[in-house]
């Protein structure tokens, strides 16, 4: 963790016994989700990028990652405004729309206490 916990996004439900297990799963699946989103950006697949952002928008808050949900909502909004057929200028817009979300996804973690337990 390199002492970078200040930058981490931590779930407020992490210590809720009802939630601990699925929060851990949510965090564990994050690298796959990031890879999928990166791939969608590389392929210019706006629809897939939008689906990923949309699903995070609806769910992240429920898992206790409220900030991530807000960032995903902004990304989903920005992606919806893009034309489905991608031009060169659109590709940079796609990057711009998704990069805050990619960064935020990269900051999702379990707290150290939980990780050590």
């Amino acid at each position: 963790m390199d002492g970078s916990m200040v930058d981490s996004l931590i779930s407020v439900y992490e210590n809720d016994p009802e939630m601990a297990e699925i929060v851990a799963l949510f965090v564990a699946e994050m690298p796959d989700r990031i890879a999928e989103l990166k791939q969608a950006v590389d392929d210019g697949d706006i629809e897939l990028a939008h689906t990923i952002a949309h699903q995070l928008k609806g769910a992240a808050g429920g898992y206790g990652f409220e900030r991530l949900g807000e960032i995903a909502a902004a990304a989903a909004d920005a992606l919806r405004k893009l034309e489905p057929s991608l031009s060169k200028t659109q590709h940079s817009a796609l990057l711009a729309a998704t990069s805050p979300l990619l960064l935020a996804c990269g900051r999702v973690r379990l707290s150290t206490a939980q990780a050590a337990a």
Binding site: I22, Q55, L56, G58, G62, Y63, A73
Partner: protein
Amino acid sequence: MLVVDDSPLVHRLLKSRLRDEPIDLRHSNSGKEALEFIYTHDVATVLLDLNMPQTDGFEVLRDLSEKETTTHIPIIVLSGQQDSQDKVMAFGLGAMDYITKPFDLAELRARMRSALRVHRLVRMLSERAQLDGLTGLWNRSHLDDRLAQVVSTADRNNRPLSIALLDLDHFKSINDNYGHPAGDAALQGTAELISQAVRSADIACRYGGEEFAVLMPETTPEQAKALCERIRESIAARNWPSHPDRKITVSIGLCGAETTTGLPPDQWLAHADAALYKAKEAGRNRVMVTTLDKDRPKLAAAS
């Protein structure tokens, strides 16, 4: 309860959040999948995401509210915090309640319980409206609904079906000699004996006056005859407190088929009624059977 949301993350979340609730939680990933599920299952409450690709929540709402069988299912819509216009529109289309994402657990449970309560009450009221007040059996209106259903199911699947009409013999003389309370007791006692004899898939109704009907899906005429004989014997054997010296008997007209007949529901009733008439003509206290098949001529409709 059915959760409709395009995000698997939401399904997993709700499953975990509601695991201690006494409900059977099911999931659909799209509006289309949800509609198919709802039309083929008994769903008590739907938790519906409005914002889905393809068939969205609004279309699901519209579809469910237009159909008589689903219009009373309570629907709680899931919406984002800012989408107040969506909520207004959802209520306009028949939603009962909404909850905003991210869910507050206590709020989610409270709204869900209230929706399930509404569902129970609506079901109770609609069942009451289909029950006969005196005997507690189904009433004529319920019989008409179910008759059409069982006839079409039997025809479609090429399955056996039998239908019986039962009429108390000389009922008027019970009323005349012992008074109307004795007549009511005779109807109630008969209904009780019919209820005891039929199986859980059978549908027993008070058809009107002193006449009863029993629909017996998946039952051949031969099996139905045995069941009707048991009913007839149990009624004939019963002692009646208000007239210990006077027994009551019943005549039964039965029609049934082992396979598809292609006959419409009213023809089934007409055949059962004709058999009942024969039972009366032949001296009452008996069961007469008509076996139906495709070549059976049509009868004039029962009056």
